[in-house]
Symmetry: C2
Subunit: 232 residues, 2 copies
Amino acid sequence: MIRRIPQARDRGIPDATVARLPLYLRALNGLAERGTPTVSSEDLALAAGVNSAKLRKDLSHLGSYGTRGVGYDVQYLIYQISRELGLTQDWAVAIVGVGNLGRALANYGGFVSRGFRIAGLLDADPRVVGDRIAGLVVEHTDELEAVIKKRGVSIVVIATPATAAQQVCDRVIASGVTSILNFAPVVLAVPDGVDVRKVDLSIELQILAFHEQRKANGGPIMAEEWPDGVVM
Amino acid sequence: MIRRIPQARDRGIPDATVARLPLYLRALNGLAERGTPTVSSEDLALAAGVNSAKLRKDLSHLGSYGTRGVGYDVQYLIYQISRELGLTQDWAVAIVGVGNLGRALANYGGFVSRGFRIAGLLDADPRVVGDRIAGLVVEHTDELEAVIKKRGVSIVVIATPATAAQQVCDRVIASGVTSILNFAPVVLAVPDGVDVRKVDLSIELQILAFHEQRKANGGPIMAEEWPDGVVM
DNA sequence: GTGCCTTTGTGAACCCACGCACAAAGTCGG
DNA sequence: CCGACTTTGTGCGTGGGTTCACAAAGGCAC
């Protein structure tokens, strides 16, 4: 049995930590723009909207990059987090589905500035094929496999209608892609080894509605006194 | 000290459960469209992409709505979850910032079909004001407070550039809004009692990049054998 | 060099969530 | 009415994540 001695350069970063690293990165970039040389965990945590102990524990998973009594070197930490997230390399991304959302994504500056290069825009609708969006010409989805192989696409964004998503998904996986960002409101079935992350714009709104309703129905006090006989 | 006796109609739904209810709802709507009258936790879990035990536990927080030996009545469960999430009422939503993303959101069918009514589109750019989008005329952000009050807006979606987000946020809170969905890549500072949910499109992509890099660097086996001396 | 001050990195306790596994409860055929 | 079968609802063990609190570590003034 291999005993795992915890040490600084250990690789086994918790998912929860990975999910927050982009947040820290964003906050750090803001500080860097203003020329701040170093930052304490307290201040960075404030800027990122998290607890400072959590921030320190998160950063400790990448290594011991702080200086006690001083804080973290902003530039150095940006580099380390970027490297950990793999943002120091250039990722070729294809967007399938150029509706309103696909267009918004293609024009979204947050991708390009973080090492993501839009390498292809594809759509099944012939009326859209040929359009220039964000400097790219939209290609037909018939070209999907060719585009992926030719341009070394390793991440695919699915922004198609729900009905087309699974089919597109199957095809990109068959082409060797193992990272998919899905905006279509369906659960994609994928084999082991393929990562799918999903964003459903309406889910967040529904969660807000839940809390909003809760606030309206008698304030923050738990509504235990609810009439129990309401059965429909 | 009040001892909390766990019971069916208890109101204290875990956040993790609330976050999944929209998922179940989506799966149920799919089943309803195909005319399925009842569904077992096993099948529904499969359709929603979760573990069946988790599904049952989640649903048990709303009440005991299943029938042992049979499953759940699809229509009835849709009603119950909708009610719990507050989707049986109509929510007036305003979208601030009508760039690519704001446009995509305004046209997104997933909102309207779940009881969210777009009651206002606002932008600071005079060139956009007056445009018709999704049947609405874009108004100037000067009208923000008026629109919120006049049309009973209770949820605001911020889709502005990062620099404008906090200011918009402050103004909508001053107008009495306590639920905000933020797409701008900044951490909004809000007083207690205000709910902010954020969606950062680039964060998901960065998480994917992390895992993708991990796969490339020596497969699924933990890359412990990494050279330890790389310090920049 | 010494002592004080600041801030990191982490041990440890706590809390929530997940999932197994099973008893309870209901259906259905005969 | 009964017994076999199906499926729910949940008690409980486990594991991961969050937070507190503090010792260790470095900077800085003198």
